[in-house]
Symmetry: C2
Subunit: 323 residues, 2 copies
Amino acid sequence: MRQAGRYLPEYRKLRGDRDILEAARDPDLVVEVTLQPLRRMELDAAILFSDIMVPLHATGTEVRVEAGVGPIVGGPFRSAADVSRLRPLEPEADVPFVLESIRLLRKDLTVPLIGFAGAPFTLASYLIEGRPSRTHDRTKAMMFDPSSPWFALADALADLSASYLRAQVDAGVEALQVFDSWAGALSRADYERYVRPSMTRLFDSIADLDVPVIHFGVGTGEFLPEMRHDAVDVVGVDWRLPLDEALSRLVEGVGDGVGIQGNLDPAACLAPWPVVEEKARAVLSAADNKDGHVFNLGHGVLPETDPATLERLVDLVHAETAR
Amino acid sequence: MRQAGRYLPEYRKLRGDRDILEAARDPDLVVEVTLQPLRRMELDAAILFSDIMVPLHATGTEVRVEAGVGPIVGGPFRSAADVSRLRPLEPEADVPFVLESIRLLRKDLTVPLIGFAGAPFTLASYLIEGRPSRTHDRTKAMMFDPSSPWFALADALADLSASYLRAQVDAGVEALQVFDSWAGALSRADYERYVRPSMTRLFDSIADLDVPVIHFGVGTGEFLPEMRHDAVDVVGVDWRLPLDEALSRLVEGVGDGVGIQGNLDPAACLAPWPVVEEKARAVLSAADNKDGHVFNLGHGVLPETDPATLERLVDLVHAETAR
């Protein structure tokens, strides 16, 4: 569950109207906001308050995150010249505020801290479209054009995210999540051909890190097995697919040995409690108390969610899984 | 394939900056725009130029379609009082321009004319959110709230669409398509519980009409069998799921006897021709020249599509399926 966010009044008050990319540069704020959900709920882990655009912003990409819209990129990427504007991340120089936040958090935390980064397709979509897109037309057009710099872009983003993830682990995070929020716009064949190579590159480069890795997607039910990699311990599944079916797909032909994360519809948390409870129990029941199930929402907490609902949800999941 | 649209320069020229809901009220324009794609391409059918919001607009809902955005509804629906603002369609009084357009078109056309309407979930989402939404939060919140007027709203919209479809058939359309563009945001369980009843109501009320009915969805691969109904002849499938797998799911447990429509990714048509060709052949190959396959894009033609690509695509499909 992306815990820190706009659904918490104490978060909105603290952040004010600062861009999240600016807020993420302030370790005191990052620490406080990361801890806020833990003060309300008995969560099993903390997730670093940050944004997947942080390493791009920190290496010179002109980007801001507009409230209620999402990332807006100045000078969207279209050509090889645009791709060459990307440079490798030098963590200590580019994102010292992230590393400092992690070090500070590790002093306070009694639960594991999860760090994260964006996956190449999702990052590329923001860079190419220049803003959030429902259809990702321009991204796909570049992907489908053999003369385009698609693979160079995807590889550069894989390297950026890999460096960023490694630096977070070096600073102290104890689990990693790779967010590919928009890969679900693709067919299995296109994912395999245009996206999986850069995912393999990313996961290969962090395979030596001794922390669990979660590969998160939304609407990726048709290519869950393709989201696996030796370095991936857990695959995220959204609410479109029941977890028992997701598990069958994940193990078919590739064997067991992978956990599953999900998959309550975030919109379910807007419902009256008996509906939330019924839906949460359905998730737990489909997962059948299996080892390696990480209960989670299928996507981020919606801003209009009542924190009290999340508090009850956490208690319910703990009560049910302790049995 | 939603044929009439912004990808055609002759369409953009003719429509100018008029709202599509206004343009749809002008039978001369509707006839011309419906015919435009047929002058360029040897299409097997024509689809009436219109919009799924037409019957709502015509019965008093305050709505406009903003270019590049979509439907914007004044006074979004939240309460039972809002739902009571809907009234039944009186086709001859409310949408005479649609019926007149159909009658005029039938004189000119040598291919079948397809009429269409929106499905309750998709229409409800526009009414409740007030604008296009990626997550449909408010719609789901109403759906999940047992004290809300969700089922009354969905039933009223089913009745509106059923009347509208019947009137189109009476005026001369020879096939129908029901668009549920956003149902793919739902899990199978939620579709079954909150949406299928109104779909059943809609299809039950048009079951006596002697024309083929296509049930169109995007991202609905997890509940294709639930989209079937005795009145549904063809189920639409988007590019996320190969057609052979879609067919297996459609017949599993419910038997054969349904056609399939799809499923080229509209973004594929932005690619260089060899890529379009490869992807179109993959669609045809997955459908295996099966009777009852309607070749189509998985969603509407993107505005930036080169019409020449679509012309070649139509020729390719004809050449391949004539074999």
